[in-house]
């Protein structure tokens, strides 16, 4: 393959293009889902092809195909697209400098998930579902597992040749209870198919799905009997299982430099940030956030991005102050920088764009008892159920699966159903007055981050500890 790609790149160089790269992706995925102790789906998929990106006369062209015997035609098409683009650009694209790298990276794993018999995986899900049904009266239970192996080659006209072997594993369970007119759910370890990581089967084994099934089921049933969450302003502690989406939507997306430049304005929207807002008071002094593509196990962890730039750890917010955008080779020069290695494509057919890696809220120093203890009357919110945010990433609203009542610094044992909270991004992060310590810090993988046209689905991660926020608007029923 290396010789073949080198030959195509050499032809492109000779044809006068300033720069070209080729990515080959071979992605194998396995999806298992069960419902009420029956197999709902067992599927495997393979996606194998290549994408060629060309810069000619300062313009970008990209073409992708799965037909390797037509790679020369695909390269010519990419050049034709670049040349058609040139007369309708505002200005020539400028790529930052980067070194030529020849290297290989593999996700460190203990157990290859594709070596584990599917029967064993199914039995684990069935056992967890069985435990849920034994523990409560439920309408329905679900189990999920997903595994992914991606072999990638990146080669460019600068002389880089990078191979990567990336693994992902994940899973989770959900319990649904119903009564006439109501349906409630609880999920473990997180909603929307559970938790995912760059890891082997050991990650799923260590989720302890069966051991957590009873509590999940019991809470789903209890929610049917629970009161509606009250509306008003409350101090809240937000668990990592929800804080993940909060970080994703209100920090991860607004700091993407392509959004700031308007590249996504026609689709997903822009950002309230602009390049002049470095040092902006994004949050309180307790808020320290990094983009870290190097952390072991994060779903956004890799060796190199899809422009051949090494994975990095970058400050996004330090002691509440905004520090850096997420950048790519074509966007970083706009702010006088070089790429911090976040440009990724969701497969061979799509062009790399700025994506989150692992956007992590660093741990603070509060124990869980201290977080709760500092609240006179409030709520502890867990597990995302719904999300929405405006096109500049300011007004957000999240629904959670459950709210636990806090009174006089203690969890009372009372729960509420259908909690919703809403706010404005900087005001919300400035209201954070405590972040949980390292012992509570946990990473969640989000395997469904949509962006771009054609739509691309990125796999990203978020680490956090439960954190406390003051005077947060909860519920909408009191808005008249």
């Amino acid at each position: 393959m290396k010789e073949r790609l080198s030959a195509v790149l050499a032809d492109l160089s000779q044809s006068g293009v300033e720069y070209a790269d080729i990515r080959v992706h071979d992605i194998v995925e396995e999806a298992i889902s069960t419902e009420n102790r029956e197999v709902q789906d067992l599927s495997t998929s393979r996606s194998y092809g290549y994408g060629i990106r060309v810069f000619a006369d300062g313009a970008l062209g990209f073409a992708a195909s799965q037909e390797f015997d037509r790679i020369g035609e695909t390269a010519e098409r990419a050049v034709e697209i670049a040349r058609a683009t040139r007369p309708v650009q505002r200005k020539p694209v400028q790529l930052d400098r980067k070194e030529a790298i020849v290297d290989h990276y593999s996700t460190p794993i203990e157990i290859d998930p594709f070596e584990i018999p599917r029967e064993e995986k199914l039995q684990l899900l069935f056992a967890a579902e069985e435990r849920m049904h034994e523990s409560a009266t439920l309408l329905r239970t679900e189990g999920n597992m997903n595994f992914r192996r991606e072999e990638k080659i990146f080669a460019d006209t600068d002389g880089s040749y990078i191979t990567q072997l990336l693994y992902e594993s994940g899973g989770g369970i959900s319990a649904y209870a119903a009564s006439e007119g109501d349906m409630q759910q609880r999920s473990y370890p997180s909603s929307f198919r559970g938790n995912h990581a760059t890891a082997g089967y050991e990650f799923v084994r260590d989720l302890y799905l069966v051991e957590n099934a009873a509590r999940t089921a019991e809470e789903a049933a209890a929610l049917i009997e629970a009161e509606e969450c009250p509306s008003g302003y409350f101090d809240v502690v937000i668990d990592s299982s929800q804080l993940t989406l909060q970080i994703h939507e209100s920090v991860g997306h607004p700091v993407e430099l392509d959004r700031v430049m308007g590249y996504e304005a026609g689709m997903a929207g822009e950002s309230f940030l602009d390049p002049g807002m470095i040092d902006f008071q994004y949050g309180s002094e307790h808020v320290n956030i990094v983009a870290d593509a190097t952390i072991p196990g994060g779903l956004g962890t890799f060796g190199y991005d899809d422009e051949g730039v090494p994975a990095q750890r970058v400050d996004i917010v330090r002691e509440g102050r905004f520090r850096n955008f997420l950048t790519s080779r074509d966007t970083a020069p706009e702010v006088g920088q070089i790429s911090n290695g976040t440009s990724r494509a969701d497969g061979w057919g799509r062009i790399p764009i700025v994506r989150m890696t692992n956007i992590n809220l660093l741990p603070g120093d509060a124990s869980f008892a201290e977080l709760i203890g500092g609240i006179e009357c409030g709520l502890y919110l867990q597990s995302n159920k719904s999300w929405s945010i405006d096109d500049r990433r300011l007004n957000f609203q999240f629904a959670c699966e459950i709210a636990y009542e806090i009174r006089e610094g203690q969890l009372t044992g009372k729960i509420f159903k259908n909690p919703i909270y809403t706010g404005i991004t900087p005001e919300f992060w400035r209201s954070c007055d405590a972040v949980g310590d390292e012992s509570q810090w946990q990473m969640f993988g989000t395997p469904n981050c949509g962006k771009g046209e054609p739509m691309q689905v990125a796999h990203v991660g978020h680490g956090s500890s439960p954190s406390r926020f003051r005077h947060v608007k909860v519920g909408v029923s009191d808005v008249e």
Binding site: S43, T44, S45, S47, E119, W387, D390, V479
Partner: protein
């Protein structure tokens, strides 16, 4: 891309490899050229040619699925072997529905060569260059213009064969003013000469021009006139969470237990009709069943639901031909058409003493599926209506409201309808005037 004959040859080959099993094969090909633009310049310009083959093998009480982009004989042999191996791993479970059989072959070719020529990569650049030049100083364009050809072939071990080929153009155009405020228009077309790019840019520009000096108003209950794009946004969620038999079986649908009841205002009629010329037809589903027309809501009464083979088996009814090959989700209606009313949008505005005209919604999501409670934000133009006239722009707001409630507070439905982007093709919907629409937050976006 594979021709019909090549695709059928491939289907036959796969089925021969799976001899002795109940099997079906879906071959989906797409060649899409997509040009994105921002700040009135092209910034991404891409082409992707992909063919994906999905093979489903069934036993009496189990089923497995494999998909691959590797279409050579060796790759397909490996895929079939993988599917059979998966099947053997599976425990015995629910009885599998039988394959579709005895239906006449469907062959639909709506491909328009002139359309492809009119929107190749060079023509797309020319269209956009002219459109950018039509904007006044201080206004910039953002969006995408694309052409895609799709071919879908289906075959199964019961001898059923179907083929559909089509192409289409999509435009989204967001025009933003440097002084703040934006407008938006979308256009889809399956025939050369239909897509009017300058007209779409002009609509978006006019919106942007009006959408300035926005007034901030307080959340609460307001009379709204939802333009067709906003109505299409709501209908997409209704289809996803409400009109699927699977959602009813799982008690997730807001129509659970309300079949044949009056659930909406009697002026609401919604059908799923792939034969409507505005919806871009896909005449069979991903299990090979011919797609049936569904009357989802008939004068406000909940009627039909969308079935795939598995959910139909569970309810003891025939499939309606709405499988999207997502067993966890069940069937989804893709070609929604809402009946028009008898009032023009202009008349609706003229009849409104105090209300808001909404262009479209952004980032909607389901808050509570059983109550059809949705949330989302207005985008690209909200305008205050006072005493029957548009009286300035309003800042964007968040709504959180139940569709069950909103569609029982309908004041008027427009006589004109518009194509809006759907899941696979288009919806065809009117504008709607709704009383007491619940806005729950405001934003500077």
């Amino acid at each position: 891309m594979l021709s019909k004959e090549e695709a059928y040859d491939l289907v036959d080959h796969i089925l021969s490899e799976a001899e002795g099993y109940t099997a079906r094969v879906l071959v989906m090909s797409e060649a899409e050229g997509l040009t994105r633009y921002a700040n009135s310049g092209i910034h991404q310009n891409v082409f992707e040619d992909t063919t994906r083959i999905t093979i489903t093998i069934s036993g009496e009480d189990r089923r497995s699925r494999v998909s691959t982009t590797t279409c050579d004989r060796e790759g397909l042999r490996a895929a079939v072997a993988d599917a059979i191996e998966n099947l053997e791993y599976l425990p015995h479970g629910e009885k599998q529905p039988p394959p579709v059989r005895g239906v006449a072959p469907i062959s639909l070719d709506r491909y328009d060569e002139d359309l492809e020529r009119a929107f190749d990569v060079h023509q797309r650049a020319d269209h956009l260059k002219r459109a950018f030049g039509s904007l006044a100083d201080g206004y910039r364009a953002y969006g995408q213009l694309s052409h895609a050809e799709n071919r879908i072939s289906f075959g199964n071990s019961a001898g059923v064969r179907h083929f559909a080929r089509s192409n289409g153009v999509k435009l989204s155009s967001l025009i933003a003013s440097d002084a703040g405020g934006s407008g938006y228009a979308a256009e889809t077309s399956e025939r050369a000469g239909e897509a009017d790019i300058p007209a779409a840019f002009s609509r978006a520009y006019e919106k942007a021009r009006l959408n300035r000096d926005q007034e901030e108003i307080e959340p609460g209950r307001h009379t709204v006139i939802l333009e067709p794009l906003a109505v299409g946004n709501i209908l997409a969620f209704m289809s996803f969470i409400g009109f699927s038999a699977k959602a009813v079986q799982n008690q997730l649908s807001f129509l659970t237990g309300r079949e044949d009841e009056q659930v909406f205002d009697e002026r609401i009629t919604i059908v799923d009709d792939h034969t409507d010329e505005n919806t871009a037809s896909l005449p069979f589903d991903f299990e090979g069943y011919p797609r049936q027309k569904l009357t989802l809501v008939d004068s406000g009464i909940s009627r039909d639901f969308a079935y795939d083979a598995a959910t139909a088996e569970a309810d003891g009814v025939p499939s309606t031909g709405h499988s999207v090959d997502m067993p966890q989700r069940g069937a989804i209606p893709l070609h929604l058409v809402m009946e028009a009313g008898d009032t023009s949008t202009e008349e609706m505005i003229a009849d409104t003493e105090d209300g808001l005209l909404v262009t479209r919604f952004h980032y909607m999501n389901v808050v509570n599926p059983r109550e059809a409670q949705l949330t989302g934000l207005t985008r690209d133009g909200v305008f205050r209506i006072r005493d029957g006239e548009i009286d300035g722009a309003v800042k964007n707001m968040r709504f959180t409201d139940s569709v069950l409630r909103a569609l029982n507070s309908v004041a008027a439905i427009s006589s004109e309808r518009q194509r809006t982007p759907g899941f696979f093709g288009n919806f065809y919907v009117p504008a709607m005037k709704i009383e007491d629409f619940h806005f729950t937050g405001k934003t500077d976006a």
